[in-house]
């Protein structure tokens, strides 16, 4: 069967960040399929210019509220390598633990809050609080554990306060 259709989704829901999807089919044949990242550019690369090295991780964490620890740690690593700083072993371990906490939180959020509604046939996680209470509870407990690990290791679960250049 030959089909003509165009699909335009503006600001795709249940994803972190902003994306549009555009699909065009003519005579049953795909002629265009686009995934556009329509996030407003923020220019962190230039914001760090002239900033004190010690302040940079507090800025770069603000790239993303969901994976702020990763962004803080990436800039800390870059600065330490540039300055030939060897962080103490305890700092390395704390940073690794902080990363694991963030991964746990982020994956639980993605799986139980953003993806699960596709499997339960609901528009969001909200009706699942009543229709699938065990699933929601499991997701919340995992997320809480991830956040707790991040808080203990970095002082706060979003936008860490105690990850610093040189460790300590």
């Amino acid at each position: 069967m030959k089909h003509d259709f165009a699909l335009n989704i503006h600001h795709l829901p249940r994803v972190e960040g902003h994306a549009d999807i555009k699909i065009t089919v003519r005579n049953g044949k795909l002629v265009d399929a686009r995934w556009a990242i329509v996030e407003t550019p923020r220019f962190f690369e230039i914001m760090v210019k002239g900033m004190s090295a010690e302040r940079v991780p507090f800025l770069t964490s603000r790239i993303c509220g969901i994976c702020s620890i990763s962004h803080a740690l990436a800039s800390i690593r870059a600065i330490e390598r540039a300055m030939s700083i060897e962080p103490p072993a305890a700092a390395e371990k704390t940073r690794l633990l902080a990363m694991q906490g963030e991964t746990l939180q982020s994956h639980a959020l993605h799986l139980f809050f953003l993806v699960a509604p596709d499997f339960t046939g609901t528009g969001s996680v909200l009706p699942m609080i009543h229709s699938h209470p065990d699933l929601v509870r499991a997701g919340l407990q995992l997320k809480e554990l991830g956040n707790e690990i991040s808080s203990v290791t970095t002082g706060r679960c979003t936008h860490p306060v105690s990850l610093v250049v040189g460790g300590g």
């Binding site: 829901p13 407003t40 004190s52 996680v125 909200l126 809480e144 306060v161 105690s162």
Partner: protein, 252 residues
């Protein structure tokens, strides 16, 4: 919804994000232990990040992020027409936030240096109140969920919404922290609005003022303190500019 014999209406609420990191929205899903009680107070009508169901009959709109592109201005104005209460949600919405740091550079310089050969649309970063009328501001980078819970309860019960008027130092002292000035650091705690439970200074990181100025701050005395301790003026400038929250209160 009944509570202790009184009936309350759930808040018909929506959450929208602009130029931001989405960290403030994420706080709505944190504090998992109280989350189901918190959600019981809300009728979420539109919240793209967590729901495919979008309705435009909300009363309260939470606005996260600052404004940096013409399409954002239009989107924000449409939300303003619908919302009875428009809330600047988080530091970017209230003050421009870290996004404002790019305003020091020319738009051409930004595009060429960061995205060479690509067409990038961007403009000067604005806080929400530069574009539409704001009814309520909840500062913080990110917002403090405990405070958000308290404000939501105030809105549900129709009582007055308040923020602490005193500075971060009060909360910092209650944590029995050593003053960072005594450790040779400039800390914006003395001039910044409390409500964060001094989370940064408790982690030994100087306050960068994400919650903006406390009420009736004595800026002259604060600047004098920095001078008296012989601390760096560059460091002071960098800290005050970090969230753009002290705009107009300090001229180097």
């Amino acid at each position: 919804m009944m509570h202790k014999g009184t009936t309350f209406e759930k808040l018909k609420i929506a959450s929208f994000d602009f130029t931001c990191c989405e960290g403030c929205q994420l706080q709505l899903a944190n504090r998992e232990s109280t989350l189901t009680d918190f959600l019981d107070l809300l009728d979420i009508r539109n919240f793209r990040e967590i729901s495919s169901e979008q309705h435009n009959d909300y009363d309260i709109a939470l606005i996260e992020g600052s404004i940096s592109r013409p399409d954002e201005v239009e989107r924000l104005q449409a939300i303003r027409r619908q919302a009875k209460t428009l809330v600047a949600f988080g530091t970017c919405a209230c003050f421009g936030g870290v996004n404002s740091l790019k305003n020091r550079f020319s738009l051409n310089e930004l595009a060429v240096e960061v995205y060479p050969g690509m067409e990038v649309e961007t403009g000067l970063v604005k806080k929400i109140s530069e574009v539409v009328k704001v009814d309520l501001s909840i500062p913080g980078c990110p917002v403090n969920k405990e405070e958000v819970e308290r404000i939501v309860v105030s809105l549900v019960t129709g009582s007055q919404v308040t923020l602490p008027k005193y500075p971060v130092c009060i909360e910092c002292k209650a944590q029995i922290n050593t003053c960072l000035f005594d450790l040779g650091e400039i800390c914006l705690g003395p001039i910044t609005r409390a409500g964060c439970n001094a989370v940064c200074t408790t982690g030994k990181t100087p306050c960068l003022g994400c919650r903006g100025p406390a009420e009736e701050i004595n800026m002259a005395a604060f600047l004098e303190l920095v001078k008296e301790r012989g601390l760096s003026e560059n460091d002071l400038r960098e800290k005050l500019a970090f969230y753009n929250a002290f705009e107009g209160l300090y001229q180097p």
